[in-house]
């Protein structure tokens, strides 16, 4: 679905989006008036009014650091150091640490991961933390103010603000895991057209030209058969594949990887004007959407309403005008499952 939407999305087709330079020329027709930075939506003077919410972020949001550079935020969900964050941002982190308030924790444990929702449960050795307060009951409505983590300094959290901007819904996408091959159908056979570097398929020794005959002991007649098998798999799972290579049948064990680590999504014109969006921004069972300007490095943290209650968890920066969050009720359900898994 995301793909369909993206392909339709050029800025009013080829007729053209004008650049800032062209605007400058037009605006000079008459002297322009400008609103100074502090008074803009996320300017310092406007953010003053949100100080009570910034204080909630100060105590109940976590800053995830890799080699002392922040790469994501998290939600503090218990006084004794349980933290939720966006799972796919944890890959390939060397020296992970977490800041909460003015404290730093370097003993970060990844306890459990939910691939469907892209949420990970982390644990640090802490006590007396202030967990987020969930907004129970009715889900936050369109047009409501919401507040997220903005840039952060060593000891001080900052707020970024916006509103709920569309209907809650599912974000569809392709399966979350891949073998690392590109397939084609030739004479009713599933043929490997290309093997991507640094993937399970490459490591296992699959080659282009191999014909996929069986997977998990089942006959593969069309590519959908193979895609169906991947549907309920997770990264790190092993898929047994039998191929026909030049008339000889061979067996391979392929480790599955997250799709976005192998294949980049389509780079549409809208993507090109969207700055740094999240690696994984599709395939979520249900999200609420808001317009806070986050980047790929600032998701994973809490989404607050004006009362300071947590209405969701930021899960993806999708593009220039859309940020997705998992609604509070669903985050709590995921948390319960992850706590169960980690015991």
């Amino acid at each position: 679905m995301e793909k369909t939407r993206q392909s339709k999305s050029s800025w009013a087709s080829a007729r053209g989006l004008l650049t800032a330079a062209a605007l400058g020329a037009m605006a000079s027709v008459s002297p322009a008036q400008q609103l100074e930075g502090p008074y803009r939506l996320n300017g310092s003077a406007v953010l003053q009014a949100f100080e009570p919410l910034r204080e909630v972020l100060q105590s109940s949001s976590a800053v995830l650091l890799d080699d002392w550079k922040s790469f994501a935020y998290g939600l503090v969900v218990s006084p004794d150091g349980y933290v939720l964050t966006k799972a796919s941002e944890l890959a390939d982190r060397d020296e992970m640490a977490i800041s909460i308030g003015a404290s730093k924790f370097t003993d970060v444990e990844v306890l459990a991961t939910d691939v469907e929702w892209d949420v990970a449960l982390l644990k640090v050795d802490a006590e007396n933390l202030t967990p987020v307060v969930w907004k129970d009951g009715e889900e936050v409505t369109i047009g409501s103010w919401v507040v997220s983590n903005g840039s952060t300094s060593r000891s001080r959290r900052r707020a970024r603000v916006g509103i709920i901007s569309a209907n809650a819904r599912e974000i569809k996408g392709s399966s979350n895991v891949v073998l690392g091959i590109v397939l084609k159908t030739e004479k009713d056979q599933i043929v490997v057209e290309d093997v991507k570097e640094d993937t399970g398929a490459a490591e296992a020794g699959l080659q282009s030209g191999d014909v996929i005959v069986e997977a998990e002991g089942k006959k593969m007649e069309k590519r959908e058969d193979l895609l169906d098998l991947l549907g309920d798999k997770e990264p790190g799972d092993i898929l047994k594949v039998r191929v026909d290579r030049d008339g000889e049948e061979m067996d391979f064990e392929v480790e599955l990887m997250e799709r976005h680590r192998v294949f980049d999504g389509p780079q549409s014109r809208n993507d090109a004007m969207s700055g740094r969006f999240s690696g994984r921004r599709e395939n979520f069972p249900r999200v609420i959407q808001h317009d806070i300007m986050l980047s790929e490095r600032s998701v994973g943290g809490p989404l607050l309403d004006l009362e300071g209650r947590c209405v969701g968890m930021n899960i993806a920066r999708a593009n220039r005008s859309e940020t997705f969050a998992i609604p509070a009720a669903e985050v709590q359900a995921v948390l319960e499952r992850l706590l169960e898994d980690s015991r």
Binding site: S9, L23, L35, N42, S274
Partner: protein
């Protein structure tokens, strides 16, 4: 941002006259105003399908389906378009006039209604620093998502452009910008490199060119639309379809063929050269086939009586 603005516009949200909101109460007032006007505004915001899979937005401003949008979305005069209303229904539409230099344009839905529509800020009351909200079908129509809303302030004002910090993206082009009373104050045009550069055509640019746009004129030269072939026949009226058939003249433009021939506001054009006129599309189609200098015969209904009027067509 002065006391004068309040006096001129009694419904104005008081937070607009503060440099910045000072408390959670001020923020809640902004939220209340936004949510109070959002339902109607979303209902009236439409998607516009273009050729080659492109998509833009627009907003309905009259019960009978007059739509304001951007010139680079409507693309020309008298072109067929498809409009998707917020309920997911698809409607055939035709582009009316546009201003190529500033990106203003009108489109009309051909049939159906009454449509949900929004009020226009007729007195041009929007000021620098005002709180505003922006709607559009970002990236194209998406039924499950619905119309997307963003909040911001007017951060820059010039004669033919206003800029807000409501973040726009492709597909929003032609969509509406509202004040906190739910009145239409601008139409989305384009973005700059920074997230703060979101440009809108101010509503005053539509007011200035209203009648000419209604009369399907291609106005100005500029980057937002390509000029059509020159020397098209020109009658010089604004008209709208009537339920019983024929098109009713809503305005006769000065110094045009229509004015010279004595056409009057309220006249209903029933036939052109014996060909029955059923609706606007049909009317524009018939005129399209004619040349400047052609002498035509209009059958017109005036004060309950048929009347024949001869017109020598002018040049656009």
């Amino acid at each position: 941002m002065t006391g004068g603005a309040v006096a001129d516009n009694p419904g104005r949200l008081y937070v607009n006259d503060k440099k910045a909101p000072e408390s959670l109460r001020d923020l809640r007032k902004i939220e209340e105003a936004l949510q109070g006007n959002l339902g109607r505004a979303r209902e009236a915001t439409v998607g516009i399908e273009l050729g080659e899979g492109g998509a833009g937005s627009g907003v309905i401003v009259s019960e009978d389906g007059l739509v304001l949008t951007a010139a680079h979305v409507s693309g020309g005069v008298g072109d067929d378009l498809v409009i998707i209303t917020a309920d997911g229904e698809r409607h055939d539409a035709i582009s009316l006039g546009l201003v190529a230099s500033t990106d203003a344009a009108m489109v009309r839905i051909k049939e159906g209604g009454p449509f949900p529509f929004v009020e226009i800020d007729a007195d041009d009351t929007a000021r620098l620093g005002d709180w505003v909200f922006s709607l559009g079908h970002s990236g194209g129509y998406d039924d499950a998502r619905g119309v997307v809303v963003r909040l911001g302030r007017i951060v820059r004002v010039a004669d033919v452009t206003i800029q807000s910090d409501c973040k726009l993206i492709g597909g929003d082009s032609g969509g509406p910008l509202f004040d906190m009373n739910g009145r239409l104050i601008g139409i989305h045009s384009r973005v700059g490199a920074s997230l703060e550069q979101n440009m809108h055509v101010p509503i005053r640019e539509f007011h200035r060119n209203w009648d000419k746009m209604l009369a399907s004129e291609f106005i100005g030269e500029g980057p937002f639309a390509k000029k059509p072939e020159p020397a098209k026949a020109y009658l010089g009226v604004a008209a709208e379809a009537r339920e019983e058939g024929g098109v009713e003249v809503t305005r006769v433009l000065e110094d045009t063929a229509a004015a010279e021939a004595g056409l009057e506001t309220g006249d209903v054009i029933l036939e052109i050269d014996g060909e029955e006129i059923e609706d606007m599309e049909n009317f524009l189609e018939v005129l399209k086939g004619m040349e400047p200098g052609d002498k035509i015969e209009l059958t017109v209904l005036r004060d309950g009586e048929d009347k024949t009027i001869e017109v020598e067509l002018g040049e656009r």
